[in-house]
Symmetry: C2
Subunit: 329 residues, 2 copies
């Protein structure tokens, strides 16, 4: 069996050059590449790639597990993760879970089988005890949406405070009848945002009208329905806080359809500062999360764990910002 040394000798190049050719390194001159490939063919040399993979302690692949890719929110976070990881030679792959715990478990197997070095979870469905156990065995961290109680490193924002700040702003604009359009599913973030909403009303001595708390899914369609339903209440709202921009878009559409002028007759605030919130008509007041920075911090937290699985868990809450635009007066 020919070895890589035999190939190098016959092709009159270094072993490193043969290795570069095998790795499709673009720095190898085309002539050299051709000559080496010719020798490889002549000698019938076959690199033991699987063996190579076995010997390596790291694969330099990491996995990001998203619940869905049809949400613009994630793209800037992924960009931050990739900026940090790729400069260190890591390849970032994305898996989609559809919030299915079995799909998450399948991806955990990639860690066990040493196909990836670590996982960044968004919105994990695995219970906190199991997640904590995985965190002791493998480099896994949580980013953005998380499981409370799981002992893993985590980067997110203070969702309760962010919702508090948005609601407080609506109160400061003079609103006394403020609706919340939130998720029917109980995510940690939606739970905390509802808490922040309620706390802001309470602290400003505004009675909470449970009729004005509407549970929807994350689609614009359900936002349209929410707006129409809220306008039919005995005491319709003069302001609506929604927990996502996609819901805000639907709410604004629904309000327009009922003849309301958003930003004049009624105020609307979204969440996430997705690109469409800047381009919608009206432009949408929304809570901005520092998504690029969140991705970078997630990469850093994962690298800490890859380098030392026993390193202490960190919890980071990055600052949020209320972006004031046309949808509030």
């Amino acid at each position: 069996m020919a070895t890589i040394k035999d190939v190098a000798k016959r092709a009159q190049v270094s072993v490193a050059t043969v290795s570069r050719v095998l790795n499709h390194d673009q720095r190898v001159k085309p002539e050299t590449k051709e000559a080496v490939e010719k020798v490889i063919d002549e000698l019938g040399y076959s690199p033991n790639l699987l063996g190579r993979n076995l010997r390596r302690s790291s694969t330099y692949n990491i996995l990001v597990l998203l619940p869905t890719i049809s949400n613009q929110f994630y793209s800037a976070i992924i960009k931050g993760i990739r900026e940090e990881m790729t400069t260190l030679g890591y390849n970032v792959m994305i898996g989609i879970t559809d919030l299915d715990v079995n799909v998450e478990m399948k991806h955990i197997q990639l860690l066990e089988n040493k196909l990836v070095d670590g996982i960044i979870f968004f919105t994990p469905q695995i219970d906190s005890v199991t997640l904590t156990k995985f965190g002791q065995m493998y480099p896994v961290i949580q980013c953005s949406e998380y499981v409370e109680g799981a002992k893993l490193s985590l980067v997110s924002i203070d969702n309760k405070q962010a919702a508090y700040d948005a609601t407080k702003y609506l109160i400061q604009l003079g609103n006394k009848h403020i609706a919340l359009v939130t998720s029917e599913k109980s995510y940690t973030s939606s739970k905390l945002r509802e808490e922040g909403f309620r706390e802001a009303l309470r602290e400003h001595q505004i009675p909470i009208n449970e009729e004005l708390i509407y549970y929807a899914d994350y689609t614009p369609h359900s936002g349209i329905e929410a707006a129409k339903a809220l306008l039919l209440k005995r005491q319709p709202p003069t302001a609506i806080f929604t927990i996502s921009d996609s819901l805000a878009i639907g709410v604004i559409q629904g309000l327009k359809a009922c003849g309301k002028k958003v930003g004049e007759d009624i105020d609307v605030i979204g969440f996430d500062n997705t690109f469409i919130s800047k381009f919608y008509e009206p432009t949408i007041t929304t809570v901005s999360q520092p998504r690029l920075e969140m991705g970078k911090q997630a990469a850093r937290l994962l690298l800490n764990k890859i380098q030392n699985i026993g390193s202490e868990n960190e919890t980071i809450f990055l600052p949020h910002e209320l972006m004031i635009r046309e949808s509030t007066k």
Copy 2:
């Protein structure tokens, strides 16, 4: 060294049950799981996961290579791919290339190292000769945006015909001065769409005014600039065909800023039927690609190659559809 049989015997369960516990199969009862894990600990049993991976001819992982994830266009295609692949037990992972050929090559290594069974390329940057060579060695196919001349299976739409149809519709509305806002980068799709645009004008005896062909990037910002620049031409357009919805949104914003009523004073057509085209104001006339079906066909083409690398290449152009909405009169 303890074997899986030793574990099964001591735990008084079948080998299959031990295997299920190792694979985190949710069908195993918690008590059984606990008992098996206890025996695993007692015997110090360690499954040879890497060995298992070596022995398997398939990893049941496939990779989808996207140029970016900040484009809503891909999500429905990915959904189609996943629907087909996951029912067959495949796990779908996504890689992001940023249109960098070196990143593509890194992902090809995952095929070589048998970490994935196949790759679906969107917008590959690898040259057609190399891509053809990879296609002979590994299950790789192209979806949506493709390299012309590469001998790989392919599923896309007839981009030239789609642009022809959109332009013809603008002509039928009575427009004689029609602008094209297209990509400054020469993608196969943008090249073909420009050809279709030109052919529609030619066939309807409308002289092509090169001043009304504007090269932009894919962002709404460049669409705004395009609209403003086109309105300043000696002969401003009465209709604008853009090669993406994100460009159309920018163009509409730019036109509004210049006091134009879109759908009355001037017609605009986008491309891709992304979700925002239905929710924008005005709603946007656009070319719909059958994205879910495109994903399903891509999965089928890849499976054909995974099952038989020597199977004949297929080229499939799926039907497109012009979605008529408010942005055209």
